[in-house]
Symmetry: C2
């Protein structure tokens, strides 16, 4: 399981304030803390309050790369901000977060992903919104895979995100997302990878950590490859490590929590 640290996002007040004040320290602390907790990638999102994300993204990338070697997940709804971030990246292969299945958008992001040799997260949604069940999610995943193939983009570099919803508003989606995770692996050979925004599941709910880690174990059993998550939630990381051992992805030892390390792929 690849854990992508979610914390460097302008949706969080401390990050929004640091961006506002052009103060690198709080963001650099988050980069280090998430890396130490085992993040394999760090998500980087300017947040919705920033007027010109394409101007802010390079600054974020630069100050993060000053303190860690962890590769980045460049996260924006604006392709200009994505491209500005990718241009600035100097470390290992980045992830683009994210395109939808809409053809024009998908083509734009695939072009960027090819040009900058990046992984690409693709959400199984289009103008009609979030699909109601696994079959509709899979149909969109198939469209994404077909277009990626037309673009000669490596399908194994795609991360399909079947859109996990908050359990308090979309309870019926949980099992559909698990089913989608399983079926996505049958769409191509080699198959696309899978990812979810794990914290979405518990948005607005009490017992967030319990909901998140329980769903993580369920998703891992369904073939999940990666999660954008709160890597500083120690119970969550313990679940990820334990899940890898139980799925025989990491060799068991009595010291497996220590031996497996927090979040290697």
């Amino acid at each position: 399981l690849i854990l992508v640290g979610e914390r460097i996002n302008g949706l969080f007040k401390d990050v929004a304030a640091a961006i506002q004040n052009k103060d690198p320290a709080p963001i650099q602390r988050l980069a280090v803390a998430q890396t130490e907790a085992g993040a394999a990638f760090l998500d980087v999102n300017t947040g919705p309050a920033v007027d010109d994300p394409a101007a802010v993204m390079p600054w974020l990338v630069k100050i993060i790369e000053e303190v860690v070697d962890t590769p980045l997940c460049i996260d924006s709804a604006k392709p200009e901000a994505i491209e500005a971030g990718l241009k600035t990246v100097t470390k290992a292969k980045a992830i683009i977060n994210s395109t939808t299945a809409e053809r024009d958008r998908l083509e734009k992001y695939l072009t960027l992903a090819k040009e900058y040799d990046a992984y690409l997260i693709a959400l199984t949604m289009n103008r009609q919104g979030v699909p109601k069940d696994a079959a509709d999610r899979l149909a969109l995943a198939m469209e994404i895979v077909v277009v990626a193939d037309e673009f000669n983009y490596a399908v194994a570099d795609l991360f399909i995100d079947p859109l996990a919803l908050p359990v308090n508003v979309g309870q019926e989606h949980g099992i559909e997302v698990l089913e989608t995770l399983r079926q996505v692996k049958t769409l191509a050979d080699p198959p696309p990878r899978t990812i979810i925004g794990l914290s979405n599941v518990s948005q607005g709910c009490p017992h967030r950590s319990l909901l998140n880690r329980t769903y993580l174990a369920m998703a891992m059993a369904s073939g999940l490859d990666a999660a954008i998550a709160d890597v500083n939630d120690h119970e969550l990381v313990k679940t990820a490590v334990t899940g890898r051992v139980l799925l025989n992805q990491e060799i068991y030892s009595d010291a497996f929590l220590k031996a497996a390390g927090p979040a290697r792929g």
Copy 2:
């Protein structure tokens, strides 16, 4: 998910001592504690140290039924002990724990299950021992289903147990058991139910509760119906409740941990 409390088993020293001393109190306390923690059934096993389990089983059933109404899971390798227990049961439909897939044994236990109107746990193993993978487990599950059908025994009253092994000695079996849980549901319509001996997974390992609850979430995502488990492990029961909510088997409310209750079916 149906939780079967594992604690009334002569493998535990306190239970062995209580049986030895003919002292009902420690066993009755375990019956009450497990029921309060949410056990839907209580496993009852005399343990290996007892010379004549068929003599001890009725006493166990009687003293447990004096203090709780929780139905029982009569657990013995000796059919005489199973029958002696079933004869004594006065509460709701019991579970027989367990037969293997060996034809003579299976026929004997199916006869008992029909005669006493009991559920039956059937292990996917035979004289050759534990199967190496999901396909071999499924072949044995299919044999069990076919024989049950020949006996006009309701397949939905069968609990197929695909034999979860300790992760420190049989790490490669974990994922095969999950795959078996998924596939068993395709064997008949209505399908047999599924059960695992959850604590087996962590036998002899550190971090037992963490291993048990992580595997429980994985198994629930794979369609598990029941687990014989340590119901007094509060973290485990929280995982079971949360899993039911995430799988949309229990309606979400903000107080879901309280609202869902500890372990209803």
